[in-house]
C-alpha cells in the first residue's frame, strides 16, 4: 500500500513538473523598451491604473508606484517626484502583465481594460477603462508592447 502511494506521489510530481515546463515553454514575457516606458507608458498606467484602491495597493501583483499614489518607500513624501526605483519597479510590474502565450494582445495588460475584459475599472454604465483599441492611451500601451506602431483594425482581436 505504501509503495502504491509513493508511486502515485512520484507520478503526480513528475506530471506537475512536466506541466510547468510545458507552460514555461509556451508563455513569454516581453521586455519592451524601458525608456519608452518611462516617457510614454508610465504616465498612462499611473493615471489609468495606479489609483490607490486599484493597482496602487500593495496586495495587487500589478501595481504602479508614483507621486500622489503608492510609494515604493513609505518614507517618501506622497507628492515627491517619482524615484528611479519606482520607475523600475513599475516597469517590471507592467511588463509582467504582458506575459502571453503567443500573442501579446492576449496579455492581461492589453486585454483587461477593454470591453469584455472582465475588469472592475468600469463606470456606472459598465463602460471599461478604454472603449476600444482606438483609444489614444490604449494605443500607447499597445505600441509599446508590440515595440512598433500597431496597424491593425480596432475590431481585430
Amino acid at each position: 500500500m505504501r509503495t502504491w502511494i509513493r508511486r502515485v506521489a512520484v507520478c503526480g510530481a513528475l506530471a506537475q513538473i512536466a506541466a510547468c515546463d510545458a507552460e514555461d515553454e509556451a508563455t513569454q514575457t516581453p521586455a519592451p523598451d524601458y525608456d519608452v516606458f518611462v516617457r510614454d507608458v508610465y504616465p498612462i498606467v499611473l493615471r489609468d491604473c495606479g489609483m490607490l484602491t486599484c493597482h496602487g495597493v500593495p496586495e495587487r501583483p500589478f501595481r504602479v508606484f508614483g507621486p500622489g499614489r503608492l510609494r515604493a518607500d513609505d518614507d517618501t513624501p506622497r507628492f515627491d517626484p517619482v524615484t528611479e526605483d519606482e520607475l523600475w519597479f513599475s516597469y517590471q510590474r507592467t511588463r509582467s502583465m504582458l506575459t502571453h502565450d503567443g500573442d501579446v494582445r492576449s496579455s492581461l495588460l492589453l486585454r483587461k481594460p477593454l470591453p469584455g475584459g472582465g475588469h472592475r475599472g468600469v463606470d456606472a454604465y459598465g463602460a471599461p477603462v478604454y472603449e476600444s483599441r482606438d483609444d489614444a492611451a490604449y494605443r500607447v500601451l499597445l505600441d509599446w508592447a508590440l515595440e512598433e506602431p500597431w496597424t491593425g483594425d480596432s475590431s481585430d482581436s
Binding site: P43, L52, V122, D123, A124
Partner: protein, 246 residues
Amino acid sequence: MDWRQLGFVVGLGLLAGLGFSTPAAYPQPVTEGGGGGRFFTGSHGDAFGCVSCHPAEGTVGLVLDGLPEAYQPGSTYTVTVTWPDEPRPVSVVAEWVDDDGFGVGRTRLAPESILEDEDRCASGSVAPALYDAEDERTVIGMPACGATQLRLQWTAPEADVGTVAFHLGAVGSDDSEDPSGDAVEQRSVNVAGPDAAAEGCSTGGRSTHLSLLLLLLGLRLRRNVTRGSSSCRRAPRGHVPSTRGR
C-alpha cells in the same frame, strides 16, 4: 489685491499643496501627483470615481436640488448641491455628459450676486472653479474649504440630444492627508430629453390642445366621449442609456 483676495490665493495654494484634497490638482500632470486630466466625477466620460482612491467610509449626505426631469433646449437651470457642515470638510466635482460621454450644454459657476454664506469658504472666499477636460467636457470643482453648498448653472443644448446625465463625486475629508478614512458619495442623475417631457404629464403643448379641440367637437356633435381627453400618460420607460458608443 486686497487682504481678502490675498487670503483666497494663499488658501488655494495651501489646498493645492495637499494634492487630492482639491480638484485643482486634477488637471496637473500625473507625474507631479495630479490627476493627469481625470477628474473622478464617475461619469462615463471619465470612467472613474472617488472610490478609485478613497475607500468609502460613510457617505457625505449630499442633497441635490434644481435638476429637471427633462430639459428644454436652450433653457438654463440652477443646480444646488448641499451637504452638512459637520463633521468633515467636503470637496466636490461634477459635470454634465451626453450618452457618449462627451460634455453637453454649457456649465457655469453661479453668478456671485445669488451666492449665499453657504456657498462661501470659511474664509469668505468663493472657491468653485471650472476646468476643461477631454471630450469637450467642463468639470466644476469645489475644494474642501468649509463651504456647505455648491451652485452651478447649466444651459441645456439648443437641440434635443437625448438623455443627458449629471455626475457628481464628493469626498468628506478626515484631514488625515491620505485617502483612508474619508466619506465618499457618488451620484449620477439622468435628465431626459425634451421629447420625453412632451410625452410625460403636461398641461400644455400641442397634443393637449388637439385633445381639447376634439373633445369640444365631440360635445358639439352630441356624441358620447368615451375616452379621456388628457394627454397625461406615463412617460415611456427606457431613458437610461445602456452603453456608450464612443
